[in-house]
């Protein structure tokens, strides 16, 4: 951190502000405070603004392509100003608080949801020297702040005094809370591999990306993240064909807008977290010397994961709640426990026996995946035989349940 260098624009900018403020004669703690304030405003502005304007546009465009449509294309080139128009519309809409609602909680809930999503970005390392706060308990911070969002959704549904919203809130309780278990367990894997809970340390130790060392863990994290953001195929909490809009049914105007922005932003946030925890974050050729390049790599990786989430959303039907809970408790949670055990034991064994680390961990993961698939196959087969035995030998095949 000495002098000016154009290789590292973020560090240079921070130093410039610091020297300038110190030059004005302010005491050092105040300078730090102002620096943090500026950093916070920039980070929140970038995430909220980017989330509101760019992400929604991207998602609508890409999603339209998945459904063989054009997407927004009227306002501005390629419809890029569509979201500005939407924002203006939402801001000028009347804001209704239903008469039976719990007013304080009703108004607080959208703010909590947005805060939790934006709060996650405080520990995301964008580039080698660009991070809000390098907490030494970063992973736990992610879990706890993510929990605030769940709380916000629950409060929104409960305070609306609407039965659809209540159903949405109850589903949110059951679902979001359950999916935090495999997520928390699987976060142990990058923690173990890096020997630290800090996100910076986790990225630093990914000379080989953790997705190569723990592909099963990465997959579990990805699936439970998609469930955590309440997206299709896990969008039970706002299933529009069943409970109209779920937890945010009574929200109108900008409060609804906040829910929408936070949902889109949350989708990108978990993509970014997947990139940070398993895809090496900002790592790539030349990223150490040119942090801007690191930022680019980070955005590309997050964008790739985000694309897969959009793909999920537009191509899979909604699952039933009992299927969802079974997926979580009977599949993801035991698998997450197994992944933690396998990673822990295999890494130490490889150290003790002198095996190469990456191939042995990768091999163990592939073995675990094959074993899981084998168990699932045996289970599905047993289930089918059970169904066929009930139907008798010459009835329709088991797949045609709907016709019965």
């Amino acid at each position: 951190m000495t002098g000016l260098s154009f290789n590292d624009p973020f560090g240079t900018l921070g130093n410039l502000i610091r020297t300038f403020l110190l030059g004005l004669g302010l005491p050092a703690p105040w300078v730090t405070f102002i620096q943090f304030l500026v950093g916070s405003v920039v980070l929140i502005g970038a995430t909220l603004g980017g989330g509101a304007i760019v992400l929604i546009w991207i998602e609508r465009k890409v999603g339209a392509r998945f459904q063989d449509r054009l997407g927004p294309n009227r306002v501005g080139p390629f419809g890029i100003f569509q979201n500005f128009a939407d924002a203006v519309k939402l801001i000028t809409k009347e804001d209704i608080t239903p008469s039976g609602a719990d007013k304080v909680v009703f108004n607080l809930a959208p703010l909590l949801v947005v805060m939790s999503v934006v709060g996650l970005w405080a520990v995301v390392p964008f580039a080698p020297s660009l991070i809000g706060a390098d907490l030494n308990v970063g992973v736990l911070y992610l879990l706890s702040i993510g929990g605030v969002g769940t709380l916000g959704i629950m409060l929104a549904g409960m305070s609306s005094n609407n039965k659809y919203a209540l159903l949405g809130a109850l589903r949110a309780v059951a679902m979001l809370v359950s999916f935090e278990i495999p997520m928390a367990l699987v976060l142990l894997v990058p923690t173990m591999l890096a020997g630290s809970m800090g996100t910076v340390q986790i990225v630093d130790s990914q000379a080989t990306w953790f997705v190569a060392l723990a592909p099963v863990a990465a997959l579990i994290f990805f699936i439970s993240s998609v469930a955590e953001i309440g997206r299709a195929p896990f969008d039970l909490l706002e299933a529009e064909s069943e409970i109209v809009a779920g937890y945010n049914i009574e929200y109108s105007g900008m409060k609804f807008g906040l829910f929408m922005v936070s949902e889109f932003l949350h989708a990108f946030t978990v993509s970014a977290l997947t990139a940070v925890l398993f895809l090496g974050g900002w790592r790539g050729p030349g990223a150490e010397t040119y942090p801007l390049l690191g930022l680019l790599y980070f955005l590309i990786k997050s964008g790739a994961v985000y694309f897969v989430i959009i793909w999920f959303r537009f191509s899979s039907p909604r699952v039933r709640i009992d299927q969802l809970m079974a997926l979580n408790w009977k599949f993801l949670t035991p698998l997450a426990l197994a992944v933690v055990v396998v990673t822990a034991v295999v890494q130490k064994l490889a150290e003790a026996l002198g095996w190469p680390m990456t191939p042995s961990l990768l091999g163990a993961n592939i073995l675990l995946a094959l074993l899981t698939l084998g168990v699932l196959r045996a289970y599905a087969r047993a289930l089918r035989q059970q169904v066929e035995a009930q139907r008798g030998p010459d009835s329709a095949p088991a797949g045609a349940v709907g016709g019965a």
Partner: protein, 118 residues
């Protein structure tokens, strides 16, 4: 050591304030003409019947209990995971033993039918 937390301490309240700012702008710009019809609960055009804040079924309570058990135990595992690189094999196996006990608890809940969504 505390400096990152100072950032968080500034960051989170600021996030709350900045999230509230569009609501404040909307309060100035948006019309505000409430009437009884408009403020009534939305239920596809039908008058709502009965209380909304009702007792819900016990299933949620059971899942919440299992959640608490697992989440707390996951938090216990984090220090072990942080120290993992410095641990000997037998210490790792002790952690594994803990996870096995956890898995036994899951199996117990499973066999008792607590994981069935009725």
């Amino acid at each position: 050591m505390l400096q990152p937390w100072a950032f968080i301490g500034i960051f989170l309240p600021l996030a709350l304030v900045l999230a509230a700012s569009p609501l404040v702008i909307a309060r100035v710009l948006a019309p505000h003409k409430p009437n009884a019809e408009k403020l009534s609960t939305y239920e596809c055009g039908i008058e709502t019947v009965g209380e909304t804040w009702i007792q819900v079924k016990i299933q949620y309570y059971i899942f919440a209990l299992i959640f608490v058990v697992f989440d707390v135990e996951a938090v216990f595992l984090f220090p072990w995971a942080v120290a993992y690189q410095q641990l000997q094999l037998y210490m790792v196996l002790e952690g594994v033993l803990f996870i096995v006990i956890l898995a036994a608890g899951l199996l117990y809940a499973w066999r008792r039918g607590a994981l069935e969504w009725i």
